[in-house]
Structures are given as structure tokens and as C-alpha cells.
């Protein structure tokens, strides 16, 4: 996929609102390093993904080395190291979902969007991932799109959901 990965924002800096939020986050912990995960979540919300420049910015905020921030960032699957689609679709593939048709859901998405795991549609609208158990096995199969869960899916329901996304 031809992603504009090299294009970074001119200057990596939180908005005023995010700066305030960051100060609130710091107050919750006895040390700065404990604020790493919440700060990375905030950074991802601000910048879309965690580029190397963002890691450097976060490391300055938290008095950590870039290496320490990189180490943490890369360990967690939810921190994106490159841009994803406007709608990031994550299909649960673990056993309970697999028993209730997760593969059909995933293959339908691949065909419909014309992309494979880890790719973004050319218009930047959708990206696709398989993920492990989302903690909602009783309503399998389950898909998470950005922050939201879609449960008890059928192909028809899924199509309807996708069609309604702007």
C-alpha cells in the first residue's frame, strides 16, 4: 500500500487541550513513567499513530529515553506504528469466535474491501486486522471498528454497518 509514511506533521506537539489532559494524567501517578500508557493513548488520539518523532516527544514529556518509550510502544498491539484507515477494522479470530464463523466474516471483509491483513484501502477509509479474543465471546463473532464493538455479526449485518460508515 502506498502510505505516506514519511510525511510527518511539521512539529509534534500536543494541542492545548491535550496538554491539559496530560497534566491531569500525571497527577494520577506517583511517578512519571507510570503515565506512559495513558500518554501514548493520548498521543495516538492526537497524531493518529505513534511515529518515531512522537516517541521522542513523549519521552521528553516523561523524562524517559526514546528507547524506553519505543520499548513500551512496540510491545502493545493497540499502539499503531504506522497510519491505519479512518475505520480500523479488527476481527476477532480466537476460538469462540472461530466456532461461530469468524473466518467467513474476515474473508468477506477481505473480498469486499480488496485488502489483506495489515493493509489500508487506497482511499484511506478502511484498514483490516485479525486480533485475539476481544473479551466478548458470548456474542461471537465480534468485530471492533475503532473504539466500538459490533457483536453477534452476520455477513448481512456487517454489510449494513460498513455501508453506514461515512
Amino acid at each position: 500500500m502506498a502510505q505516506k509514511e514519511t510525511q510527518q506533521p511539521m512539529k509534534v506537539e500536543f494541542s492545548e487541550a491535550a496538554k491539559k489532559e496530560f497534566q491531569e494524567i500525571l497527577k494520577r501517578y506517583p511517578d512519571k513513567r507510570s503515565a506512559t500508557l495513558p500518554t501514548l493513548h493520548l498521543a495516538q488520539r492526537e497524531f493518529g499513530y505513534i511515529s518515531r518523532d512522537v516517541m521522542e516527544y513523549v519521552s521528553n514529556l516523561l523524562d524517559l529515553t526514546v528507547g524506553e518509550v519505543m520499548d513500551t510502544t512496540s510491545f502493545y498491539t493497540m499502539f499503531k506504528l504506522k497510519p491505519t484507515g479512518k475505520y480500523h477494522i479488527q476481527v476477532c479470530r480466537t476460538l469462540s469466535c472461530a466456532l461461530r464463523g469468524a473466518r467467513e466474516i474476515y474473508e468477506h471483509l477481505e473480498a469486499k474491501l480488496g485488502i489483506h491483513e495489515g493493509e489500508v484501502t487506497p482511499d484511506g477509509k478502511f484498514s483490516l486486522m485479525k486480533v485475539e479474543c476481544l473479551g466478548s465471546c458470548g456474542t461471537a463473532p465480534v468485530v471492533q471498528i475503532n473504539d466500538d464493538y459490533y457483536e453477534g455479526l452476520t455477513i448481512e449485518k456487517l454489510d449494513e454497518i460498513l455501508d453506514n460508515l461515512e
Binding site: 479470530r93 486480533v131 485475539e132 458470548g138
Partner: protein, 424 residues
């Protein structure tokens, strides 16, 4: 007649609000504790109740709290484990959605008991909505004076905050969780020292599951003997059973501890999907040994399941009917464990990788008898040789699948395809 204790309000839309919770007797137990009990009295009551941890290991909750030093000068921490990432488990999410203040009240009482003034709820990153619900509930509790400084004029201080994970099964393991809370990757720590002595920030720390803590307010209010009267005395109480896979009515069922597994599947769960024949059941989350269809006439509690060689774990019951290929099911799980191994110990990191590869080969029908044997050996080499129990959690399914469904593995040998044409 069993009266629901954890989920009786769950389907009522207002049940998330503090007003609703207060109207239905909420925060009475916390007030009772603050006004009339000492921390040690709380610990003794919970010990007497025989409450055992609902996070997986079933450790007696009061006993664990008792390990926290009583006269040190360090801060103490109470961490609520809302990571809920064991495949087949989805009960804590229901509690957070439907009764967040019950979880908070349990955490407040636990904090008081272990002399902690700081509590964090570690919630898996994917539960965005649930994190917001908890944040709102915490704010409400501050506004009503149940959190903060000098709570209800008693001199007790307690701060609480939500901490979101970011996608890593291993952060459900208590020391992985602590590392993650400290801002690092979630690499489990070697024990001892146990967290109760040296946990978050090198300070005494208790990690408890959401459901465990949700049991605490009713123990304080109604007494240990009432709690002990529900289910088997050695592991009593109300229990949330998660039912998923090939059943007609999957979901969370609150029943007395020790309810018969067959009854849960056929009565609560409505029986097997499409009226097919039952083949296998994983009773306690993906990490515990599997049961054959003829083994499910068993009480779902810690001791009864241990007696037949499996575990209650997180009570994530995964049901599989006759069309399920056991090789494919195990392959699905090994993919999970390989993906989630933190990579710190060689047997776990390499073993899960090997096992997945061998299983691929078996499932595609291109393996030999020797490969099936090798799979068993790989599992034996992981078991009991790692820092944290994830290694065992990957090995136990392999060993039990091979023991109970070995014929099905051997039937794949050399046929060039899966005999059941399974594609999970």
C-alpha cells in the same frame, strides 16, 4: 431458590448511576466498614467467607490480603484486574457495564482492608466504553464523598483511577500487569517476592479480579456464613459462568458456585447449537485442560474440577459440537499463545512457536506419527519451566487434547488434508 447477588440489576439501564446504586443499598457495606470495622476485622470476615479469587487461580482472597505488611511505612496499592483477556471469558465486562459501583465498592473495601490509599483499575485497552463507564462512576463516587480525602469524615483517604492497557494478554497476569502499570512492557516478574510484599513501585500490592471484588460488599453486609451457605463450603458464593461456542444461548449466567456443568450447558445454555452432538468442553477459559462429552457431569467449582484433572480457571466455558476438528481447535489456541507469549522465557517463546508449526503440519494432513509425538514432547518441555503460568497455559491444552483426542490427531497423519475439512 438462588438469589442473584452480582447481576440482579444488570439489565436495568439506570443501573450504572450512583443514584440507582444508592437506592438499592449501595455503599452500605463500605460505610459499615469505615464506621465500625478495623482493617483486620474486614480481612477476617473475608477469610471466614472462604471467598476464592475469580481471576483464574482461585487463591483465598482474605488470606492474600493478610500477606500485606501491617506496620511498614510504604504506600500500599490495590489493583483491580479488569484485563479480561482469557479466551472464553467475558464476565467482568458485564459487571462493569451493568453494575460499576459494585466493583468500585468492592475495591474500596479491599483498599481499606489492606491499608491502601491508592487504587487503580487496570482495564484492557479495547474496552473503551467500559473504561468511560468506570471513569464516570469514579467521578460520581468522588462527588458523593466516597473517594478522596477524609471519606465521610472518618479520616480515611482513598484515590482511585482507571488505567487502560493497550492490547496484550500477558498484562492480565498480575506481575505483567504491575510492570505495565509502571509504564513498561508487560514482562512478568519472577516470584518471590510476591506482589503483596513488593509489587507496584516496589510497594505492597494486591491484585484482585473484578468479580472477586464484586463479591466483597455482600460478604460485609450479610456476613461470611451467608456467603458460605451458597454452593460448596470450601469454594462458595455466587459465580458468573461464561458460556460460548456451540450452544444455543451463549452468555453469562450467575449461578451458585458448584452448579453442574451439564446443567449449565443444556438448561441455561439451551443445549447444543443445531441440536448436534456435543464433542468437547473447555470448562475454565482456553488455558485449562479439555473435557470429553462424557465428562461434563461435574460440579463447576475449584475442587470438583481439579478432581477430574481440569480447572475452574476463569469459568470461561467453550462448547464444541461433533463437527469441530480438535486439531484445528488446538491450532487456533496455539496461534493465540504464540502471539501472546511475551518472549521472555525460551521454553514458552520457542515452544509455542514450534507447537503452532507442528499443528499446522498435522492439520494439513502432512504430518507423520512422529510429529504427533513431537507435539507432546514440546508441551512437556514448556510445562513448569517458565517464569509465569502462560507457558503452562499453552502446554495444558496440548497435553489434554492429545490425551483425550489423540486418535483424531493420528487420523490426520499422512492423509494430505483435514479429514473433517475444518477451517476454523
Amino acid at each position: 431458590m438462588f438469589e442473584k447477588v452480582l447481576t440482579q440489576h444488570i439489565n436495568i439501564p439506570e443501573s450504572q448511576s450512583i443514584e440507582y446504586y444508592l437506592k438499592h443499598g449501595g455503599y452500605q457495606a463500605f460505610q459499615k466498614v469505615l464506621k465500625s470495622m478495623s482493617p483486620d476485622e474486614v480481612i477476617e470476615e473475608v477469610k471466614a467467607s472462604n471467598l476464592r479469587g475469580r481471576g483464574g487461580a482461585g487463591f483465598p482472597t482474605g488470606v492474600k490480603w493478610g500477606f500485606v505488611p501491617k506496620d511498614d511505612s510504604k504506600p500500599h496499592y490495590l489493583l483491580v484486574n479488569a484485563d479480561e483477556s482469557e479466551p472464553g471469558t467475558f464476565k467482568d465486562r458485564l459487571l462493569i457495564n451493568g453494575n460499576p459501583h459494585l466493583v468500585l465498592e468492592g475495591a474500596m473495601i479491599a483498599s481499606f482492608a489492606i491499608r491502601s490509599n491508592h487504587s487503580y483499575i487496570y482495564i484492557r485497552g479495547e474496552f473503551v466504553k467500559e473504561a468511560r463507564i468506570l471513569e464516570k462512576a469514579i467521578q460520581e463516587a468522588y462527588d458523593k464523598g466516597f473517594l478522596g480525602k477524609n471519606i465521610l469524615g472518618t479520616g480515611y483517604n482513598l484515590d482511585m483511577a482507571v488505567h487502560r492497557g493497550a492490547g496484550a494478554y500477558i498484562c492480565g497476569e498480575e506481575t505483567g500487569l504491575i510492570e505495565s502499570l509502571e509504564g513498561k512492557r508487560g514482562w512478568p516478574r519472577i516470584k518471590p517476592p510476591f506482589p503483596a510484599i513488593e509489587g507496584y513501585q516496589h510497594s505492597p500490592t494486591i491484585v484482585n479480579n473484578v468479580e472477586t471484588l464484586a463479591c466483597v460488599p455482600s460478604i460485609i453486609e450479610r456476613g461470611a456464613s451467608w456467603f458460605k451457605s451458597i454452593g460448596p463450603e470450601q469454594s462458595p458464593g455466587p459465580k458468573l459462568y461464561c458460556l460460548s461456542g456451540h450452544v444455543k444461548r451463549p452468555g453469562v449466567y450467575e449461578l451458585p458456585m458448584g452448579t453442574n456443568l451439564k446443567e449449565i450447558i443444556y438448561e441455561d445454555g439451551g443445549g447444543i447449537l443445531d441440536d448436534k452432538k456435543l464433542k468437547a468442553v473447555i470448562p475454565g477459559g482456553s488455558s485449562v485442560p479439555i473435557l470429553r462429552a462424557d465428562e461434563i457431569d461435574v460440579a463447576m467449582d475449584f475442587n470438583s474440577l481439579a478432581a477430574i484433572g481440569t480447572m475452574l480457571g476463569s469459568a470461561g466455558t467453550i462448547v464444541m459440537h461433533e463437527d469441530t476438528c480438535m486439531v484445528d481447535a488446538l491450532l487456533n489456541l496455539l496461534h493465540f499463545y504464540r502471539h501472546e507469549s511475551c518472549g521472555q522465557c525460551t521454553p514458552c517463546r520457542e515452544g509455542t512457536n514450534w507447537a503452532e508449526k507442528i499443528l499446522h503440519k498435522i492439520e494439513s494432513g502432512h504430518a507423520t506419527e512422529k510429529d504427533v509425538e513431537l507435539l507432546g514432547e514440546v508441551a512437556n518441555h514448556i510445562n513448569f519451566r517458565t517464569i509465569c503460568p502462560l507457558g503452562d497455559a499453552a502446554a495444558m491444552p496440548i497435553q489434554s487434547f492429545l490425551k483425550k483426542f489423540g486418535d483424531e490427531f493420528r487420523a490426520h497423519v499422512g492423509v494430505g488434508h483435514c479429514p473433517l475439512n475444518s477451517r476454523l
